[in-house]
């Protein structure tokens, strides 16, 4: 037994040595690490917004010669790690980057739960954590708890509220009736949205004629859509995730669920959505949305050129904007001093492709929440903090 234990320790020590070798220490570049899911349940979402976002940003910075720091211009070296959609892996990877590899900067991870799981580590090592892919109702509690944590995608409730407001406005204008069918995916974000939305619908004077959840991984949405259709709604709201967003819409189209307002949460903003449904996507409402501008159009073009994939109309531009914010913070501070960067973020406003933004309060002051496909662009039709939005159109069949 003694011998074996000894042997184990020897082996462990040997591996430890190897691990140590992993961290190089040349300092002619700025090492920036990205942790996120390449595989597992979160991977497909990350493949649309997370990975290409960083790739485009790093490419553009390096193309213009690097980050302008006090010590001179330095190129960005992006190091990407796969957490396989497992929080335990995310925690280990971030801890390793912070404590072992001592990288210059760590980007936020992908997904609400994952960002919360690593928030203590970011806080402990003082890295600012500008979570681009996290939506929660606990912003107040969390930002108080972690002074390095920033939220830029708003709260669950704000998404539900905005979507319901869009419908309420239509109702108040007399364009649709007050019957709404609501379905949701029985997983974290879907459940949260559904639970936040239920009282709001009532307040807005809607009658919920159908309210059911369906499991993540459902392969046939015919029963859901048939039942929703049978309830004869004026509007249809699905607090949905990527695979079911596609499945629900296809079934709605086949069943002829002819509501005047069709809302589905996550993934309507994905380029694949338009690619798959083309004309049928017209006037579909979804979470996200972007205000059209030449800067944005240019961004989409560059995104496609550099990463080879289309950016979405929700997360991608937000990712890019906040990478612009970080870049300005890095260059404003002039070094990769984590504490100074955090402080800088809390003091300044920034100019980005989506306009001037402010995260001084550890949260974004304005963001878009509801978008609608109109003529091949997913226009923002509602949000928080903006004064003007594109008018909502009614859905007129498939």
């Amino acid at each position: 037994m003694q011998k074996r234990v000894l042997l184990t320790f020897t082996a462990a020590a040997a591996v430890a040595g190897l691990l140590g070798l992993g961290a190089a220490n040349a300092q002619d570049t700025v090492k920036i690490s990205v942790v996120g899911p390449r595989t597992g349940v979160m991977a497909s979402g990350a493949a649309v917004t997370h990975w290409p976002g960083f790739k485009l940003w790093a490419h553009e910075i390096n193309a213009r010669g690097g980050l302008k720091l006090k010590a001179g211009q330095k190129k960005v070296e992006l190091i990407e790690y796969d957490d396989r959609s497992m929080p335990g892996e995310t925690i280990k990877a971030v801890e390793r980057l912070a404590a072992q590899d001592k990288v210059d900067f760590i980007m936020p991870v992908y997904g609400t739960g994952y960002n919360l799981a690593v928030a203590p580590i970011f806080a402990k090592y003082g890295y600012p954590q500008v979570t681009q892919a996290a939506v929660t109702d606990q912003i107040d509690a969390l930002t108080k708890r972690y002074p390095t944590l920033f939220f830029v995608q708003g709260s669950t409730t704000s998404f539900a509220t905005s979507a319901i407001n869009v419908l309420k406005n239509l109702k108040d204008e007399g364009k649709i009736g007050n019957r709404v069918a609501v379905v949701n995916v029985a997983d974290a974000f879907g459940i949260e949205l559904a639970n936040a939305g239920r009282p709001l619908f009532k307040q807005a004077g809607f009658e919920i004629v159908y309210d059911k959840s369906y499991p993540l991984g459902t392969q046939d949405y015919a029963p859901v859509i048939k039942a929703a259709k049978a309830a004869n709604p004026d509007a249809f709201v699905a607090w949905s995730y990527p695979p079911d967003t596609f499945g629900l819409l296809e079934q709605a189209k086949i069943e002829g669920l002819n509501v005047k307002a069709y809302y589905s949460a996550v993934a309507v903003a994905f380029p694949a959505f338009l690619g798959k449904y083309g004309k049928a996507a017209e006037n579909v409402l979804g979470a996200g949305g972007i205000q059209d501008s030449p800067a944005i159009r240019d961004y989409y073009k560059r995104h496609k050129e550099v990463t080879g994939v289309d950016a979405d109309y929700w997360g991608s531009p937000i990712y890019y904007s906040f990478l612009q914010v970080l870049q300005q913070a890095f260059e404003g501070v002039g070094s990769m001093d984590r504490k100074a960067i955090t402080a800088y973020l809390k003091k300044n406003k920034f100019k980005t492709i989506i306009g001037e933004i402010d995260i001084r309060n550890q949260r974004l002051d304005k963001y878009w929440t509801v978008g609608q496909w109109q003529d091949g662009f997913f226009h923002a039709v509602a949000g928080v903090g903006f004064s003007e939005y594109k008018p909502v159109k009614l859905k007129t069949g498939w």
Binding site: A43, A46, A47, K212, P215, Q219, A222, F246, I254, A272
Partner: protein, 288 residues
Amino acid sequence: MDIIIIGLLLGGTYALMAMGLQLQYGVARIMNLANGEILVCGAFGAIWFFTASKMSPIYALIFVVPIAFVVNWAIYQVMMLPLVKRAKNQGQLEVDSILATFGLSFIFIGILLAVFGGEFLTYSYLATPFLIFGEPYALNRIAAFLGSVALCAGLYVWLHWTRAGLTLRAIAVNPAAAGLVSINVPRASALAFALGGAVTAAGGVLLSMFLTFDASLGVIFTLKALVIVIMGGVSDVRGAILAAFILGLTETAVATLVDPGLTLAAAYVLFIAILLVRPEGLFGRRST
């Protein structure tokens, strides 16, 4: 009526997912946890083909099926056969094959990621309503259902009416005795494994017409296929087909009559209940 038709359509989908695994486990005794990844490969093949050629994805079967057959045959020869030879008993082989194919599924995911990237891949084909008794159903699902029926029937006829099929059934029933009637068990097992892989990949092609895929999605199909195969009883392809349809009908009935939120829970309750009543599955038999 509605429930029955939707249930049958879904059952056809499930049969596509499970039949290949049934062959691989029932005959070759390999509990292939990479089954779902093979299905995803088939689907990706069809998606790639459709996007590139704009021709019916059904034509993708022409190259997906033979490739899947060859790849799976090679997997069996290179990876599984050493395990089969090494295993002292069925239990050992089961453990080894579960571990090995679990690793294999990682490799498949890695390759798919490298080739296709990680995002959702989907396309629209035959996504038009088709009226049966005045009710609309998705034409692509009906097409897949017909494909599934054809595949089930073809497999059944082949297994029951040809000598080669009889050989495979003999191995499924009593692998030890198969050698006694001059069946080259390793070769026939490789054939079954390859055929199972080809059937799974063909299922992927058909399912790609209406499901959305990404590289990591295989595990969902693997789980479903495992449940169906075990529910049906491992050594009879009829069990898997029956189980697939029972599952499709149950899920649809629960979704329509009770609560769609409980469909998958109901599926697992059904699965567990069947095992409690018949621990060897619907068509299974306790070894005598």
